[in-house]
Symmetry: C2
Subunit: 208 residues, 2 copies
DNA sequence: GTCTATAGAATGATAGAC
DNA sequence: GTCTATCATTCTATAGAC
């Protein structure tokens, strides 16, 4: 991707995440890049094409992260439960809080009621995918004896991810408007601590 | 509100909830109502004015519901914990799942990153308000001895509401695209059951 | 790859007749 | 309150010179 194309991409992500796809004229994108509209069309086939490339990028980045998460799954043997969840949250935020990815997440939220591609990504990345991975992690932890035997990994994954997702959602609104996020960030850690302690087996507890 | 004005309002809510404010031309609203654009402007000062009236309506409806929720708080004495949470969910859904209210919720989601009013409603209704009410309910239950003494009502309210909110969010996406919602609805009830059983004191447990 | 110039359609909104 | 007719902008996109 050429330097100019990259700048168009970045500017488009920035503006569309603030005003929505229909709220940003190509004029405004080109203007903020410092080129004319006709030059922009030399890099992208259409306005819609820019959005497609944004979604492509997001999916590719998520795919990369998921691979590293699976790698993390295999490293679970070397970590205590507490350590693992802390690393897990940091890993989670390392992706979702990257400025560019956070902006695209917002775009997906804005477009998912009218754009099928945005809908598919939202359902996959925000809900399904994350939950399955956490479920796998709980299963592995259970095999290791780190968490109680009588708990259902799938249910735990649900409790773990849904609340975090809503908090992440609140976090996105607050950062969008430059409002304080310390309260919601504290809630995220409180939630993780709660799940961690709720699931911890007697054996796992000794590690703390 | 005249019959025509009401129809404009309903059609506008319907279309804007699907395509976003910037995605719906006034022509399309007028066309679906069966009048000309110029006639539409006889009922609303501007396109923006329609959005304002939509937000006004939403806030007024929420205000009404909240009053009935406070009434519900005072009725807690007559119900068991289990009964109370079941009624609470039904009450919650009775508002949020009303077609018109559900559509406006979607509009708020779509506009909250660019419209201050939508942002304020989102932060208030989706996050702050609901949580405070649930916190009060947990406090009252604790006083009655229905839930364990050592639990923090504020934290419980957080655990209760955030997960439900994300599930409601998923529910909105699914219904928007006519996809099956039975799985996520089951999750809602599972979550409530979990919180209900997690918090239940020995005394409260006997009621079941 | 960038520009100027412009096409051609769609936009929000108004004037004024009925 | 509704209509026809119209305005002034704004929109996405293209042609063709440099």
């Amino acid at each position: 991707m050429s330097a100019t194309k990259q700048r168009i991409f970045d500017v488009a992500v920035d503006l569309i995440s603030q005003k929505g796809f229909n709220g940003v004229p190509v004029r405004e994108i080109a203007g903020n890049v410092g080129i004319k509209v006709s030059s922009l069309y030399n890099h992208f086939q259409s306005k819609e094409d820019i959005l497609t490339k944004i979604f492509d990028y997001y999916e590719a980045e998520i795919e990369k992260t998921m691979r590293s998460k699976e790698y993390l799954e295999k490293r679970i043997d070397r970590l205590s439960a507490q350590e693992f969840w802390e690393k897990g949250l940091l890993n989670f935020q390392a992706v979702t809080l990257k400025p560019l990815m956070q902006k695209i997440s917002k775009i997906i939220l804005l477009e998912m009621f009218r754009d099928e591609r945005a809908r598919d990504i939202a359902l996959d990345v925000f809900f399904s995918r994350q939950q399955k991975i956490v479920e796998t992690i709980f299963m592995l932890m259970q095999k290791k004896g780190l968490i109680k035997d009588n708990l259902d990994p799938r249910f735990l994954a649900m409790e773990y991810t849904y609340a975090l997702l809503a908090m992440q959602f609140e976090y996105d609104i607050l950062t969008n408007w430059n409002l304080a996020t310390d309260k919601v960030r504290k809630k995220m850690f409180d939630h993780i601590k709660f799940i961690s302690e709720y699931t911890k087996s007697a054996k796992g507890g000794e590690n703390k």
